[in-house]
Amino acid sequence: MKSPVFVIAGYVLREAASRKFIMAFMVGLTLVLATVALSLKLEVVDGALAATRLFGEVMRSNIMSVDVALRPIYRAAAYLVFYGGILFGIVACSDFAPGLLSPGRIEHLLALPLQRWHLLAGTFLGVMTLALGGTVYAAGGLTLIFGVKTGYWTAGPLIAGGLACVGFAAVYAVMLTTATLVRSAALCSAAGFVLLVGGILAGFRADVSRYLESGFGRTAFDAVTLVLPRLSALASRAADLASSTPMEKGSLGMLLGGVLVFGLGALSVGFWHFEGKDC
């Protein structure tokens, strides 16, 4: 027998599959990948990129090894997947939880033999499956295209995509908790945007703090950004991983730990609040 968490996750995924917005995004992503695959020609000689043609036009570039030549592309792709993915996720997934918790549906679900936390955990799992699927499709597609064309294979973009999912998990945890407080898709996405902006600032908190007047403002900024996940720093580490750029030892572990602790904390608040809520 399937756990109710998986059934609810399936419920969310089925809802997602019926959304034209999400389907249009997947079709668009497929078209971009297909265009790159069909229009880009890379000539590799002995592991070096000798020539590049885009839509038949020769692109001027120095001869360099394939892995070095692909670094900026993978780096840009990692940033795009990270921020673009989180932004799209905030918009596309904002109404899953409010929809599930809406009057007429929540009563029906809560009258079924499942625990309240199953609903939230299932929604979270469904959304994260969706995010992971989209990320693997985008990053995997790019890796596959460049791998086939150059013979250079790296898991960097996929790992970077995984980090983007971790970042989105923290953002969605806040959105889900917001949904238990107010059944509003607009407020859920607003909470996600606020956390994304806060997370970007938190990644540069030391730099930003220097530009603030000392006193209450700076102290408040330092205090607030202290607890926020360092999303911009995580995006930079994702780009480093995608482009095989060496990074500071231990920095990724600390970042991931911080983001996970924040996400779990936000989820715990949501679970706790929903557990005692009359619907």
Binding site: R105, E107, L109, D278, C279
Partner: protein, 303 residues
């Protein structure tokens, strides 16, 4: 409030808007927690998923996923009830609620009545021991109501306990054998329908034209007002019932008699005065009268 619903009964909950009927149903299902006291359902707590697995529930405003088709919805509900989805059984259930022709259509294209039928099918999944239905025939056409009523009666005959909240008093009257009247979160009256509907010892009598009204009134009969002729703007029902008021129904009287001996004595006195009996029947109150009597007939009284 203290309410006991016997197992296997068909129990109706009625009351004015805002009486707390839906809140009560939600507390029975553990969706709303009581601020004080305890709720016991099927011998356990509604918080227990094993207990809820034996309950079929149809909420008042069921919000269904519009892009799904009914078999997929039933399969998901079955999984959430811990059952293995059975496509053939689900098809039979959809046929039973009258949705056999709509299985290939998206739920978003269903009418309100069709959604209610699907909600009823979902509630019936897994052969529940208790059916809690909040306005089950809302939006369903009269023929559909007959079908739903037949399904509910079949379930009750199978031994299922039915807990029905419906603003259609006639429906409650036809389906339920026990009723509770709720107002302001309190149970005003509760019991078997025929006990509640019993008007006591009042009889309605029709005499042939030409009966002596004064003699009949002296014999204990009270003339009944004709609503078509006697109702005055702003006048209340009690005033219209007064024997002295104008516009009486020709030859129709009521008489209070505790038993048949007293009734026959009164009839003998009437016949002795020359009145000829045409019709005699016991006055029984319908559910609406019981509700109005219990809650009061002010504006806003509705089930």
């Amino acid at each position: 409030m203290d309410l006991h619903v016997p197992a296997g009964s068909a129990f109706g909950l009625i009351g004015p808007n805002g009486a707390g009927k839906t809140t009560f149903i939600k507390s029975v299902l553990g969706i709303v927690r009581p601020t004080a006291g305890t709720v016991r359902v099927l011998g356990g707590s509604p918080e227990d998923p094993a207990i809820r697995a034996r309950i079929g529930y149809l909420p008042e405003r069921l919000h269904l996923p519009g892009t799904w088709k009914s078999p997929a919805f039933l399969a998901t509900v079955a999984r959430l009830k811990g059952l293995k989805p059975d496509a053939a059984a689900h098809a039979r259930l959809l046929e039973r609620v009258g949705l056999a022709d709509a299985v290939d259509r998206r739920i978003g294209g269903y009418s309100k009545g069709m959604r209610q039928r699907l909600g009823l099918a979902a509630a019936l999944l897994g052969d529940p021991a208790l059916l809690v239905l909040d306005e089950p025939t809302d939006g369903i056409d009269p023929m559909g109501r007959l079908e739903v009523r037949r399904i509910l009666q079949e379930e009750v005959q199978k031994g299922v306990t039915l807990f029905l909240n419906s603003h259609l008093l006639a429906e409650t009257e036809r389906v339920c054998d026990r009723v509770a009247i709720l107002a302001d979160g309190r149970v005003l009256r509760e019991g078997r329908l025929e006990e509640l509907a019993k008007a006591g010892a009042r009889w309605r009598v029709r005499f042939a034209p030409g009966a002596d009204r004064a003699a009949l009134e002296a014999a204990g009969f009270m003339a009944v007002a004709d609503p078509a002729r006697g109702a005055r703007p702003g006048g209340d029902a009690r005033a219209d019932m007064a024997p002295a008021s104008g516009g009486r129904e020709d030859g129709v009287y009521t008489v209070d008699a505790a038993d048949v001996a007293v009734l026959n004595a009164a009839l003998d006195r009437a016949r002795a005065s020359g009145a000829l009996l045409m019709e005699l029947r016991r006055e029984g109150a319908d559910l609406e009268a019981v509700l109005v009597g219990a809650v009061g007939g002010g504006p806003g009284v509705a089930a």
